[in-house]
Symmetry: C2
Subunit: 177 residues, 2 copies
């Protein structure tokens, strides 16, 4: 008896109800994450602010007599290199439409962003401390370039702010991977 009675056992599939979300939401694409246009713009912003801060600080003669200002120069150079490299990678990923969601790459980005953000912020704070000391506490702005110190410090803070945005978004991506 080859002709059989095919028994069909229907399986109950729960109907998809609108508004009922799956238990775990994944944030796929937030602007600012690596591989997005927002991410590329963040990187370019970091690079530009750090570059201008570096240029202003280097343009001041005798800046190297204060350790904190030398440190600011070093930190902004590192920030420029890091942000430029990441901007190139972001641009390439956008161009060839590749996703930068590799687990190892994201971990590397989190560590790099964390380190450069910390260094840039530390340098900006140290410079701010010295600038306030010269301007407010010692009142020696006549002999010094207070306005230029302040501008360089403010730009370093802006650069740091954008790096920390990148850091938070990339860390979120790593955690929700």
């Amino acid at each position: 008896m080859n002709a059989s009675h095919p028994a069909v056992h229907p399986v109950g599939v729960p109907p998809a109800v609108a508004g009922q979300l799956p238990p775990r939401m994944r944030m796929k694409e937030i602007q600012g994450m690596p591989g997005t246009i927002g991410g590329l713009l963040l990187r370019l912003g970091q690079f530009c602010f750090a570059l201008v801060a570096f240029s202003i600080m280097v343009s001041i003669e005798n800046f190297s007599t204060v350790t904190a200002f030398c440190y600011l120069v070093a930190a902004t150079v590192l920030q420029c290199l890091w942000s430029l490299a990441l901007a190139i990678i972001d641009g390439y990923a956008l161009l060839v439409k590749r996703s930068l969601r590799n687990s190892l790459l994201v971990s590397l980005l989190v560590v790099g962003d964390g380190v450069t953000a910390t260094l840039t912020f530390a340098a900006a704070c140290a410079s701010a401390g010295i600038t306030v000391l010269i301007g407010n506490d010692l009142r020696q702005c006549k002999e010094n370039h207070c306005a230029r110190y302040e501008t360089a410090t403010a730009l370093a803070f802006l650069s740091w702010f954008m790096v920390s945005l990148s850091f938070i978004l990339t860390f979120w991506l790593l955690a929700t991977r």
Copy 2:
């Protein structure tokens, strides 16, 4: 006919294979997260380091002539209050065996930790900049309390390091919730 032939339909349960993990691992309890003994110890460490940094800085006469040192005092006071409050909450949660995994509370902790960590770090960096300026660049350690400035700054850095550990763990908890 009440006596029936009870039909048993065995349901195939896949055997638990060692090494085969569910697709999504949730990190339930990492020491250092809120509501753990590690978290309580981190909070106590932050509190103690900030308190000692504050005490050393306040013990120096004329510290208030430098804005950055006043800022360090303010930041360590804020850090002390925040860490003490969180240590009490952690201790209470451990005592009554309650979990601190409330979504709103974790968000609040992330924001609070982020803000206090940033403020403490900024104050420590500004103080470090001034201390290096006085000690290395101007070589005026004889007239100033360089050792005490350095100690207070180093302790503030230690406190910041522990707050940032708390921040990273709580942020991870928030992201993987």
